[in-house]
């Protein structure tokens, strides 16, 4: 039986990799993928605690997280397509209309 803090370490590592991707990359597709990585890290934690405590509630929450991830991916990719049609770029530094 794997001790639960190993799952938490794995979740923390994946979440941090996602954070690094969001903070440092300029390509918007990679940023969206990093957000998916972070959601997966959360799911690992939820399901590890669900198995640890012998309850299904964590798995239900994980299903909702996956639902939100699907909705977020659909809307995010719609934004990417609309953005690419207007500016012909995937670089987030060139999308600065609302920046001061």
């Amino acid at each position: 039986m794997v001790p639960i803090h190993h799952f938490l370490f794995l979740g923390a590592a994946l979440f941090t990799i996602g954070v690094i991707g969001v903070l440092t990359r300029k390509n918007i597709m990679v940023i969206l993928m990093s957000i998916e990585l972070m959601m997966n890290a959360v799911n690992i934690n939820l399901i590890a605690f669900s198995a640890h405590l012998g309850q299904t509630a964590g798995q239900i929450f994980a299903i909702f997280v996956i639902t939100v991830a699907a909705a977020e991916a659909a809307v995010g990719l719609g934004i990417v397509i609309a953005m690419f049609r207007n500016k012909e770029t995937m670089n987030i530094n060139e999308i600065d209309l609302m920046k001061w």
Partner: protein, 176 residues
Amino acid sequence: MSVEQVLFYIFAAIAVVSAILVITRKNVVHSAVCLAATLLSVAGIFLTLHAEFLAGVQVIVYVGGILVLFVFVIMLISVEKTIHERQFGRGWLIGFIAALLLISELVFVVWRGRDSLVLAQPTGPVESPLGFVGNSQLVGEALYTNYLLPFEIASILLLVAIVGAVALAKRKTQAE
């Protein structure tokens, strides 16, 4: 070491390495392939935790749905132009340091509290009813009884997301 433990560490190593590849590859298509490896190994980790239904959902929804959507969009927009640009923004050092602070904090907290995570009586997943009735049945029963209202709200969220995605990605007609 039991089979479960060996599988967990193998899947964890694959997940972390391919996650690092996701954020470091120049080509977005390579990133998508590495993301598929990460998602599949996370599904394997769900299997070692006896969450078979979630593993199936992970493969079907994430790899079969979201990731294919990503690849579609990558193919729609040109990849060649972005490869030759600089891949990391100007503030990458600040972001990297912030992320390092975050992971050291997380590891410190989990490491300090690891003894409090051990339950008084060991109720592992094998002894619990999760293993006997079947994971899908338990999840389904919980989802359609206690969590029925959140389930319906999630369906509304998906509907709103579909409408929003179509409205965002729709090409404007010449009629206006």
